[in-house]
Assembly symmetry: C5
Homo-oligomer: 363 residues x 5
C-alpha cells in the first residue's frame, strides 16, 4: 500500500526526543554528540560593511582571528561539528564559555538563548526536507560586538538568500550591524517552518478526502502519525518562541533599539506557527472522531442488513420446517390447497416484517 | 443531500491558516500576498471637524497629502492592496515604518497592535457574509495625530453607518478626534462578529432539531464542520481581544483619556464573543456525545430485535427438524396426537421465551 | 413521557448567549434591548438614616431629585427598562456616563463593575424561578456618595428581606451608609444562586436514581441538558466573582474600609458557588460514563444470550437436518435405535456446550 | 452483593456540597447551620507555660475570661456549635468580628484564613472515619496574642497527641507560644488526611485486583464512586493549601519568624496530599479505560464464537437441506454412495472453514 | 506469556505515593520512615583542595567534626538512614534545624530546596535500575560554607564519576568550592534520569511493533502500566525542576555567581526530561487510541464475515426447506426439472447477493 503524501517519515521518533547522553564526562567537555552528518568540516567567512564585501573559504581556523578586531561585520559559518578542535580553538579566541562550546557540539539541545557579557548564544533547530523526510539540524548562533558565528551540522542551509543580499548590496543589510544579520538568519530559519506547515496542510487535505471517500484503518494510522509529527514540530517551536521573545524583550546592549522591531516581526511569525500547529491538532482530533463515527456507522449498516435478513427468514424457515415433519397424522398435509395456503401465510409474514422495518426506519 | 443552513462554507480551511509565504525576500519589501479581491484600487477621503465635512474621491494618492498638516480629522480609506506603489507612497508621506508597510500588503497577518512614536498600527480581521460563505478580509488601521488611514482588501465594508454619522453630524463623532473615529471603526468591526455568531446559533438550532428527529452521519459531519468554523472564529477573536485590550490599557498619547472608556466597551464585547464561542464549543461537544449515544442506542435496538427473533425461532426450528428426520423407528411419528403435542410443546417454548424477555425488560 | 424534576427548562439556550444587537446605532444611544417584561415602569424610593425612614411610590422621576443632595441614604429602585426616557432623565441628574445609561437599557450585558469618579456601576444577573423555569433578569446598581440606584427588568425581586430590615430598623443596616446597602443587595442576589444550586442537586439525585434503576436515552438527554444549564450558570457566576472581587480589592473612596470585610464574605460565597458548579460538572461527566457503560453492558448481555442460543441450536439443527435427507442408502436410518442414538448424541453436544460456556463464565 | 473495602460511603454527596442556606437573615446573625452532632456543648481549657500546666473542664463560659489577660498560653476548645450563645459570649469577650462568629456557627464554610488586627481566623475541615464512612467536621481556630480557641462540631478529635505532649511537657511545645500550638493543631489535622489517603489506596488495590480477575459493571461503579470521593477530598485540600500557604507567607505579627518554618512543613504536606489525589485520579482514569477495553474484548470474544459456529454450520445446514427436498427427480438421492459423498463434502467445507479462521487468527 | 522489555516493574504503586506516616510524634522527631535498605550505615569522607585529596572511611561520626573548621572542601557521604543517632549527632555539630534532620530520615519527602542562613538543604530522588525494576532512593544534600553532606538510603550511587574526577584532579572540580561539588552531584543525578527515559523509549518501541503486528489486551495493559510509570517519573521531575530552578534563581551567598551558569545547565536538562515525559504521554495516548481502533476494526471484520455468510445461506436454506415440505399436492415436486430449476434459482440468489455485497464494498 503506497501512502503518500500523507506520510512525512520521521523514524525512531521516541528515541530522537531523548537522545544519547555522554556518560560520566565532566561539564565543559566539548564532545560531539549526534549523527555525523558531514564528511569534512567547511568554514565560510563573509566580512562586510556598507562599502566592501569580502568572502573567504577558510582552510585553517586561525585565518578568522584577525577579523575579530576589525570594525566590519564578520560572519563565520562552520558546517560540521565532529571536529571539536575547531570549536575549541574558535571558542577560546572569541571568549566563549566552556559550557557554550559543549552545547554547540551536543546536537540534542533544546532551543534556548543565553546572554553573556560579550556575546549572546542562541540555539535553534533548522528543519528542511531531504528526500521526503523532515531533517532536523541544530544551528548555534553566536552574536558578538561585530561578528556572528553560526555552527551547523553539515553544508546546505536556508541562508542562501541572505548571502545573496550581502553580496549584491541591495536592501539595508549592508548598512546595519551584526544584530541585524542575526535577525536575518533567524528570520530565514523561521520562514522555513512555514514550508513544513504547507506539507502538513497537503497531508491534511489528502487525509480529508481519503476520509470522505474510503476511510480505512490505514487512514487512522496516517492521522496518528501526522499528530505525532505535530507533537515534534510543537516541541521545536514553543522554545523557539521563548528564544525570539527573549531576544526582543532582552536588554542586551548587543542588540540596538532600532533592530528590536525586526525581532518582534520574527516573534509574530513564531506565534503564527504555534497557532497553526495547535489548530491542526484540533483538526486532526476532529478527523479521528469522524473516522470512528464513520466506522461505527458502517458497522450499524452491516448489523442492520444481517438483522433484516435473519428476522425475515428465520420465522419462514420455521414454518416450512413444520410441514417437513413426518408425522403420520398431520391434517394440513392432505388439504388440497395446503401448500398454497402456507405460501400465502409466509407472504403475509414477509409483508408484516417489511412494514415493521419501514416503521422502524430501517429500510 | 441539501444541508442548509447548518453549513457555513469555509473551503480550503487548513491552507488558509498557514497562507503562502513570499520566498527569499528581504524584510520591508512591500509585496502583496493574498488573493487579489479588487480590480482597481479606490480611495475615499473624509475630512471633518465639528463644523464642516468634506468628502473626496481620490484619483491620485498625492491629493491626500495636504490633509496631513490640517488640524481637522482626516480619514483616508484605501480599498485594494495589490497596487503596492500606493502603500509605499502614502507610507513614506505619513512616516510609516517599512515593516508596517510590508504587513499592510501581506494579508496573512495575525491581528495585532503596534505602538510607534507618531502612530498606532492595528490589524484586525473583518468577517462578512458573501453568498452564504464567510469571507475574511484584513483591515489595517493607522491612527495618527489627526488622521486615520484604513486599508481594506476590496470595496464594501461594515463602516457605512459610521460614514453616515459623520455626514449627518448627529451624535458626538464630529466633536471628537481621530482616536474616537478609530474606536467607532473597531466597534463596527466587532459588532459584525455578532452577526456571524447569530448564523452559528441558527446552525446549532437546526442541528439540534435534526439530532432529535433524524440523526445521521451527515449530522455529525455538520457538527464537525461547525466546530471547525468555531476554531477559525476563535483564532480571529482571541488576538482581537489582546489588540483592543492593549489599546485600552496602553499609554499612547494618541488616545485621549476620555476615549479610553469607549475602548473598554469594545473590549467587553470581544470578551462576550469569546465566551459565546467557548460555550458553543461545549454545546457542540455535548451534541457529538448525544449523537454517538443515539446511534449506539439504535444499534442496541437492532440487536435486541435480532436476538429476540433468533432466540425464539432457532430452538423451534430445531424441534421441527427433529420430526423431519427419516428414521424408520421413531415412535412419536405414529402417535395420533404427536403432531398436536409438538405444536403444544412449541407454543410452550414460545411462551417461556416471552416471559424470559419480559423479565429482562427487552419487550 | 413526563420528566420532572430533572428538567429545568431553559429554551432557546444558544440564542440567549448571543443576544440581539442593535444595528448601526452610535454608542451612548440609550435603547432598550431585550424582552419587554413589565407593562409599566414603577419606581420605589426609600430614604433613611439611623433615626427615620421614608418610603415613596414615585410617579414622576423628578420627585427623586431633591434626595440627591440630602445626607441620608437614598435607595431608588426602578422596575422596567423599556421607558428609556426615565433612564436618561435620572442619569443626567445623577451624572451617569452615556455608555452606562446605554448598558443599563441593554439587557445582554456580561456582569461587570466599572469605577467612575463619583459612582460605581455594577451589573449582575438575578436568577429566579418562574413556573419551574429559570428566569434571568439583569440588575444594574449605581452606588454613589449617599445613594443607591437599582434598575430591574420588572417588579418582583429578592430584596424584600432587605427592605423589611430597613423598615424595622433591626440590625446595623440603618446605621451604615450606601456602600453597606449595596453589599446587602449583592448578598441577597448571590444567596439566591444557592436556591438554583439546590434545584440542580434535586435534579442530580433524581437522575442518579434513574441511572441505577432504569437508564434510557432519555436519562442521557436529561444529563446533557443539566450540563448545559451548568454552562449557563457558570457563565453568570465567573464574572460575578470578578465583580465582587473587584469591589473588595478596589480602592474606591465610595466603599468604606469597614465595609470591605462584608464584600469579602460575598466573594467567598461566589467561590463556593463556582466550586459547586465545577463539582457538579465532574459528577455529570461521571454519570455520562456510567450511563454509557451500563448501556454497553446490557448490549453484552443481549449478545451473550443470542450467542448461547445460536451456538447450542445451530449444530443440533444441522444434525437433525442430516437425518432428514432423503438418500436411498443411509444405513443409520434403518438401525433400530438410530433415533435414540441421535437424541443421545445431541444431548451430549448440548452438555458439552454448557460446560464450555460455564468455563467461559458466560453462564 | 457485599463490596468492601472498595466503598467508602459518602451519601447525599451533591447535597453536601451546596449545603443549606439560612434565608433572609442579616449578616452577622450567629445561627447554627448544619447537622446537630453533639447533645451538649462541652468546653475544655488548657493553660500552660514552660513551668506549669492547668486543665479545666469549663462549665460556664465566663470561667475562661480571666485567662485572656494572662501571659501564659491558653487553649480553649469548644465541642458543639448549636448553642450559639456561647459563641456570642466568648466572641464579644475576645473581640471577634460579627461575621467571624457567624462563620463559626455555619458549618458549610470553605476552608479559609482571615487576618484581623488582634487575631487570625482559620477554618479547616477535619476528616475522620466513623463506622466506615468518612465524617467531615468543621474546625475553626482563633489564634490570638497568647490564646488559641478551637471550635469543633462535637467531641472526639485528632488532637489527643497534642494534649498529651502539653501535659507531659516533653518536646518544645511548652517553651513556645500560641502560634506554635496553632501549627501543632493544623499539623495534626493535615496528618489525618493521610489516613484517608491510605484507605483510598486500599480501595484502589482491591479494585485493581478485581479488575484483573473479574471485572463487572459493579467494578466500574466502585471506581466511579471512588473518583467522586477524590473530588470531595480535592475540594477540601485545595483551599487548605491556600490557608496554610497564606499563614506561611503572611506577615501577621502574631506568628513569630521562628515558627514560620513549621508552617512551611505543613504546607509541604498539603502539597503532597494534593499530588497524591491528582495521581489517584489519573490512575482511576486508567482503570476505567482498562475496564472498558476488557469488556469490549470480552464482547469480541463472544462475537467470535458466535461467528465461527454460525459460519461453519449455516452452510452445512443448507447442504443437508438440499437433500431433504422431496423432488421426485433428484439423481444424487439414488446414488449408492450419495450419502457418503455428501458427508465427505461437508467435511471438506468444515476443514476449509477451519483453515480460513486459522488464517484470520480467530482460532 | 513473557512480556519484556515493555514492562518496568513498579509494584505497590499507589501505596508508594502516599507512604506511611508516623503517628502522633511531635515535629523534629528524627525517626526513620521507609524501607530499611542497608544493613549497616557506612560513611565516606573526601576532603580536597586544588593541591591535596584525602579520603577517609569514617567509623565514628565524630571523626568528621575537625573538617568543619578547615578551609578545604569536605564531602561527607552517609549511606543508610536507619541509625538516626548519626543524623542527630552530625546535624547538631553542623547546625541543622530539627525539621531538616526529621526530613532526612523520612524517605517519603517530595523533592524540595530550603534555604537556611548557613546552609542549603536539598532533597531529590535518585532513580536507578535494580534487577529490571526502577528503584527510588532519596538523596538529601546539605551545602554549607565549605562542606557538602549527602545522605543516601544505601550504598551504591551514581556519583562514582564525580569521585574519580576529584581523585584524579582532572578538570576544574578541584579548583572550585562546595557549590560546584553540589552542582556535580545534582548533574549526575539528573543525568541518570535519561537512562530511565531510554528504557522507556525501549518499551515504547517494543509496544509499537507489538501494536502493529499482534495487538492484544495484554498490549493495552502494558501501555497502561507504562503510562503509570510516566506519572511516577513526572511526579519526581516536576519538583526537581523547581528545586534546580530555585537554586539557579536563588540569591544564597553560598552559591557563587560563576557557578550559577552550571545550575542553569542542569535546569535545562530537567526541562528536557519533563518535555520528553509529556511527549511520551501524548504518544501513549495515541497508541491507546490506535489499539482501540484496531480492535474495533477487527470486530467489524468478524461481523462482516458473519453477516455475509448468514445473509447468503439463510434465504437459501429457506428455499430448500420449502421443497422439503410433505404436502401431498405440491406441483413443483413432480416437475421433471424442478430440482434443477431450484438449484438455478438458488444460484441466482447467491449471485445477486454477491453483487449486492460488492456494491456495498464488503467484499
Amino acid at each position: 500500500m503506497k501512502i503518500k503524501p500523507a506520510e512525512l517519515k520521521m523514524p525512531h521518533f521516541a528515541r530522537k526526543i531523548v537522545g544519547k547522553r555522554k556518560a560520566g564526562l565532566p561539564p565543559g567537555s566539548v564532545v560531539h554528540v549526534g549523527e555525523k552528518k558531514a564528511e569534512k568540516v567547511t568554514i565560510q567567512l563573509i566580512d562586510y560593511d556598507s562599502k566592501n564585501v569580502r568572502e573567504l573559504d577558510v582552510k585553517r581556523i586561525e585565518e578568522c582571528f584577525p577579523f575579530r578586531e576589525k570594525k566590519t561585520v564578520t560572519w563565520i559559518n562552520i558546517n560540521g561539528l565532529h571536529d571539536t578542535a575547531i570549536i575549541r580553538t574558535l571558542g577560546s579566541k572569541f571568549g566563549l564559555h566552556a559550557l557554550v562550546m559543549e552545547d554547540i557540539a551536543h546536537t540534542m539541545q533544546r532551543p534556548k538563548k543565553e546572554d553573556f557579557e560579550n556575546y549572546i548564544y542562541i540555539v535553534v533547530k533548522m528543519l528542511h526536507f531531504d528526500a521526503d523526510a523532515v531533517d532536523v539540524e541544530q544551528v548555534s548562533l553566536i552574536l558578538g560586538e561585530n561578528f556572528v558565528i553560526s555552527f551547523q551540522e553539515r553544508e546546505g542551509d536556508v541562508f542562501d538568500a541572505v548571502r545573496e543580499r550581502i553580496r549584491s548590496g541591495k536592501g539595508v543589510i549592508r548598512e546595519k550591524g551584526a544584530d541585524y544579520l542575526t535577525y536575518r538568519l533567524l528570520d530565514a530559519l523561521v520562514d522555513n517552518y512555514f514550508v513544513i506547515l504547507e506539507k502538513v496542510v497537503d497531508s491534511i487535505e489528502s487525509l480529508e478526502s481519503e476520509l470522505l471517500t474510503n476511510p480505512t484503518l490505514g487512514t487512522l494510522k496516517k492521522i496518528n502519525s501526522l499528530k505525532r509529527e505535530l507533537i515534534f514540530l510543537r516541541k521545536s517551536v514553543w522554545p523557539l518562541r521563548e528564544v525570539v521573545g527573549g531576544v526582543e524583550k532582552g536588554e542586551s546592549r548587543l542588540i540596538k533599539k532600532g533592530t528590536l522591531i525586526y525581532f518582534r516581526d520574527v516573534y509574530d511569525h513564531t506565534i503564527q506557527i504555534i497557532e497553526a500547529v495547535e489548530t491542526f491538532r484540533d483538526m486532526l482530533s476532529g478527523m479521528t472522531d469522524l473516522y470512528l463515527s464513520t466506522v461505527s456507522n458502517r458497522m450499524n449498516e452491516i448489523m442492520k442488513v444481517l438483522t433484516i435478513i435473519a428476522t425475515i427468514f428465520i420465522p419462514l424457515t420455521f414454518v416450512v420446517g413444520v410441514y417437513g415433519m413426518n408425522f403420520q397424522y398431520m391434517p394440513e398435509l392432505s388439504w388440497k390447497y395446503g401448500y398454497f395456503l402456507v405460501l400465502a401465510l409466509m407472504l403475509a409474514i414477509f409483508g408484516g416484517m417489511m412494514l415493521y422495518f419501514r416503521g422502524k426506519k430501517w429500510l
